[in-house]
C-alpha cells in the first residue's frame, strides 16, 4: 500500500524528517508515537500533500505510484485521507454540502456518476448514527463553533463516508472524552478491512486499547528510533521516551 524510503523533509532550511523508512501493507494498523515536535504531523502532512515542505531526499510510493508527485486532491481521490490534528472551520458551508462535494469528486475520479440524493442521505445518516452524532451537525457549517471533541468526531464521519484506502489519523484521540473515544474507536474499527490501512498518530496508550495496532513506531527528532508490536506502546507508557532518545544519542 505505502512504502516510504529514506524520506528527508525540511521546512525552509530546517530539516524535520531525517530519513524515515516505513512499509505499510493492506489491512495493517501502524501507530506512530513520539515526543512533541518530533515530526509526526509533518509526516502526515507530507503524505497528504500539504504545501510548504521540501522533500530533500527519499521517496514515498502509494499503490505503486509516486505519491509525492501527486496533487493533494488527486491523492484524496485515490484514497489517501488525513484526519486533521486541528480541523479548520469553513463558515457558511454546511457539513452535508462539503461531504457531498467531496464524495462526488472522488466518484467522478473513478468514472462513477454523482451520488443519488436519497442514497446519499441514507449513507450519511447511517454513519451519523454509527458515530452517535446529532443529525443537526450535518446542517451546521463545517466545524464552526464545534467543540474540540466534536471536530475530531466530524473528521471520522468524513472518513467513514469517503471510505479511503489509507487513513492517516493525526491525534484523533486528543480532546475526546472517555465515551467519545470509545465511540470513535468503534467507528474506526468498523472501517477495518483487509484492503484498508491506518496510520494512527497518538500520544496515548488508551486509544490502542480500543484499536489494536499491528505495529508501533517511535518517532524522535525526525527519525523512527524504535519499532515493535502493540506491547511497545505499553512500555512507552511506563518509561516515557527519554530512554530511547538517550539510546539513540549514545548510538
Amino acid at each position: 500500500m505505502l512504502s516510504i524510503k529514506n524520506l528527508h523533509v525540511s521546512v525552509g532550511d530546517k530539516p524535520i524528517l531525517k530519513g524515515i523508512n516505513l512499509e505499510i501493507k493492506p489491512g495493517e494498523i501502524h501507530a506512530i508515537m513520539g515526543p512533541n515536535g518530533s515530526g509526526k504531523s509533518t509526516l502526515s502532512h507530507i503524505l497528504s500533500g500539504k504545501s510548504g515542505y521540501t522533500v530533500t531526499e527519499g521517496s514515498a510510493t502509494y499503490q505503486g505510484k509516486d505519491l509525492l508527485e501527486m496533487p493533494p486532491e488527486i491523492r484524496a481521490r485515490e484514497g489517501v485521507f488525513l484526519a486533521f490534528q486541528y480541523p479548520v472551520e469553513i463558515p457558511g458551508v454546511s457539513n452535508v454540502y462539503l461531504l457531498k462535494a467531496a464524495l462526488n469528486s472522488i466518484r467522478k475520479h473513478h468514472g462513477q456518476s454523482e451520488v443519488d440524493a436519497m442514497d446519499f442521505l441514507t449513507l450519511v445518516k447511517g454513519k451519523v448514527r454509527l458515530l452517535e452524532m446529532d443529525e443537526k451537525f450535518l446542517y451546521r457549517a463545517v466545524n464552526e463553533g464545534f467543540s474540540g471533541g466534536e471536530k475530531k468526531r466530524n473528521e471520522i464521519l468524513q472518513m467513514a463516508i469517503l471510505e479511503p484506502k489509507l487513513c492517516i489519523l493525526d491525534e484523533t484521540d486528543s480532546g475526546l472524552d472517555i465515551d467519545a473515544l470509545k465511540i470513535v474507536s468503534e467507528g474506526v474499527n468498523s472501517l477495518r478491512s483487509p484492503d484498508r490501512s491506518f496510520v494512527m498518530v497518538t500520544h496515548y496508550q488508551r486509544l490502542l486499547d480500543y484499536i489494536k495496532p499491528d505495529f508501533v513506531h517511535v518517532l524522535a527528532n525526525g527519525q523512527i528510533v524504535k519499532s515493535g508490536g502493540a506491547e511497545l506502546a505499553l512500555e512507552l507508557e511506563e518509561k516515557g521516551y527519554s530512554w530511547l532518545e538517550d539510546a539513540e544519542a549514545s548510538a
Partner: protein
C-alpha cells in the same frame, strides 16, 4: 502541491461568457452632447413636451456640476463628447408589436444569454423586459400582467401612455440635482422599465429587466421607476451583460422606487457587465444611483445585489424611510477580481418613527482588485426608536487585493439603536488544503468557501437568481488560484 499564496495570485484565465457582439443594423447618433442632441433624442422617442423640458433642465444643471472624486476608485476623466447617446437596432415601424417583428439576431442574442423571449421557451413565472442598448425590444407576459392591473412596460412607452404617473413620480426620489451622474441620466436617459402595482395587488409573477449593451462607443442611460401603491407587493430582478471591448463604456443608470403604505418592494440585481480583461483593459463603468422612498407607513423595500462585473462599480442603493414603521434592507455581494474596482454600499435615512434597517454587505477581493464598502446610516430627530443593524464582512483571496470599509453614522435621535459589525478574513491555506484533502480542486474549494461566505445574501435572492448568482461567483473567480 496545494495552492500557496503565491499561486493564489496567479490570476485569471477566465473567459467572460457573455462577451459576444451581435451584428445589427442600427440607428445611432453621432458622438457628442449638447442641447440639440437632447432635442433630437426626445423627438425620436416621441415624448411629451414636459419631458423635453425636464431633460433640458437636467442638462443645464449637469453642466454646472463636477464629476465626483470622493469614491475610492481611479479612472481617467470621461470625454462625454466622444460618446454616442442613442443607439437602437433598426426596425420597420415604430416598434415591434409582436416578437415576430423583432430582429431574429436580437432574439438569438438573448437566447445565448439564457433569456429566451419567444413564447414557447419563456421563463415560467418571470415577465421579462429586454433592453438592448438604448431601447426596450420586448416585454413578455404583458397581457397576463394587465389582467392583474399591473403596468410593466418600457419607460419610453409609459411616458406616452401614462404621463400622469410619470409627472408625479419621475425624479421624486432622485431629483435631477442629486448628483453628477443622476443629472446626466435625467438629461439623456433612453429606456428602462416602468412598473406600477395598483392598490392591494400582489404582482402575480416576478418582473425582470435584462439590460444588454451591444453597440460600441455608446453609453447606456437606463431609467427605471417602480411604484408600489398601498398594500401591494412586487419582486423585481435585473440582469446586465455587455460584449468584451478594449474601450471603457459608460452605464449611468437611475432607479427610483416608491413604496406607499403597507407596500413591499423586493429589488434584486445580478450585475455582470464586462469587467475588462485581466490587465484591466476595457470594461464597463457602472455609475448608478438607486434609491427607494418608503413613503407610506409600514412599507418595506429590500435591495439585494450581486455585483461581479464592471471595471468600476459606483453604486449605493438606498432607502429613505419616511413612513412610520417602514423597513429598509440592503443585502450585497460585491466581488472584484483582476483590476476591478468597486465602491458600493448603501444609505439608510431614518425619518419616520420605529423605522428599521438592516445592512449585510459581503465584499470579496481577488487579484489586484479594490473593494470598498461605503455606507451611511442617518437617524433624524423625528425617527424615534429607529433601529439599524449593519454587518460588513470582507474576504480577501490572495495578498495583492484590498478591502476598505467606510461606515458613516449620524444619529440625531437619542432613542435610536445603531449596531455595526465588521470583519475581514482571508481564505487560509489551511482551509484550501483541508478541502483539497477531501478531494476538491483548489478552484472548487475557493468557489465553495466564497459561496459559503455569501450565504446570508444569496438566501435573499429569488430562487432562479440564486442559482445563477452562485454559478457566476464560481466563474468570476476562475483562475484565481493556481
Amino acid at each position: 502541491m496545494s495552492a500557496s499564496t503565491q499561486e493564489i495570485n496567479n490570476l485569471i484565465n477566465q473567459e467572460y461568457k457573455q462577451g459576444f457582439v451581435t451584428e445589427l443594423e442600427t440607428n445611432t447618433f453621432l458622438p457628442g452632447l449638447d442641447e440639440s442632441v437632447i432635442h433630437k433624442l426626445s423627438k425620436i422617442k416621441n415624448e411629451p413636451e414636459f419631458m423635453l423640458e425636464y431633460r433640458l433642465k437636467a442638462f443645464r444643471h449637469w453642466q454646472t456640476m463636477k464629476s465626483p472624486e470622493w469614491a475610492f476608485v481611479k479612472f481617467d476623466p470621461i470625454d462625454y463628447q466622444s460618446i454616442s447617446y442613442y443607439s437602437a437596432p433598426k426596425r420597420k415601424e415604430d416598434g415591434p408589436k409582436s416578437l415576430d417583428e423583432i430582429d431574429p439576431q436580437i432574439l438569438e442574442a438573448y437566447k445565448k444569454l439564457g433569456i429566451p423571449l419567444d413564447e414557447q421557451e419563456r421563463l415560467a413565472g418571470v415577465a421579462v423586459d429586454a433592453v438592448f442598448d438604448s431601447v426596450s425590444v420586448a416585454t413578455t407576459f404583458k397581457g397576463k400582467l394587465k389582467d392583474a392591473g399591473v403596468i410593466f412596460c418600457p419607460i419610453s412607452e409609459a411616458l406616452r401612455d401614462h404621463p400622469e404617473l410619470i409627472k408625479e413620480y419621475l425624479g421624486s426620489v432622485v431629483p435631477i440635482t442629486d448628483n453628477y451622474f443622476a443629472a446626466l441620466n435625467a438629461a439623456v436617459f433612453t429606456d428602462g422599465s416602468f412598473v406600477y402595482i395598483p392598490k392591494g395587488v400582489r404582482c402575480p409573477m416576478e418582473l425582470s429587466t435584462y439590460f444588454r449593451i451591444n453597440a460600441a462607443n455608446t453609453g447606456q442611460f437606463e431609467r427605471t421607476l417602480i411604484i408600489a401603491d398601498e398594500g401591494s407587493h412586487v419582486s423585481y430582478l435585473e440582469g446586465c451583460t455587455a460584449p468584451m471591448r478594449d474601450e471603457n463604456q459608460l452605464h449611468a443608470a437611475v432607479v427610483e422606487l416608491v413604496a406607499m403604505k403597507d407596500a413591499v418592494i423586493k429589488y434584486s440585481t445580478v450585475q455582470n457587465w464586462y469587467p475588462g480583461d485581466k490587465n484591466g483593459l476595457g470594461g464597463i463603468y457602472n455609475f448608478v444611483t438607486k434609491r427607494a422612498d418608503c413613503r407610506g407607513a409600514n412599507s418595506k423595500v429590500s435591495w439585494t445585489q450581486v455585483e461581479t462585473g464592471s471595471a468600476i462599480t459606483w453604486k449605493y442603493p438606498s432607502c429613505v424611510l419616511t413612513g412610520d414603521n417602514s423597513v429598509g434592507e440592503f443585502y450585497s455581494v460585491a466581488l472584484t477580481n483582476n483590476y476591478q474596482q468597486a465602491d458600493t454600499g448603501t444609505k439608510m435615512i431614518h425619518i419616520g418613527k420605529n423605522t428599521r434597517s438592516t445592512i449585510v454587505s459581503k465584499g470579496i477581493s481577488a487579484g489586484k482588485a479594490q473593494n470598498t464598502y461605503r455606507g451611511l446610516v442617518k437617524v433624524l430627530k423625528s425617527a424615534e426608536n429607529a433601529r439599524n443593524y449593519t454587518q460588513c464582512d470582507s474576504l480577501l483571496v490572495g495578498d495583492q487585493c484590498g478591502a476598505h470599509t467606510f461606515p458613516y453614522i449620524e444619529v440625531k435621535q437619542p432613542s435610536a439603536q445603531v449596531e455595526h459589525e465588521a470583519t475581514t478574513s482571508k481564505i487560509s491555506e489551511d482551509q484550501l488544503f483541508f478541502c483539497q484533502q477531501r478531494g476538491l480542486s483548489a478552484e472548487d474549494a475557493v468557489s465553495m468557501i466564497v459561496n459559503g461566505f455569501c450565504k446570508e445574501v444569496f438566501k435573499e435572492l429569488p430562487m432562479e437568481f440564486a442559482v445563477e448568482a452562485q454559478a457566476l461567483l464560481g466563474l468570476s473567480l476562475e483562475g484565481s488560484v493556481g
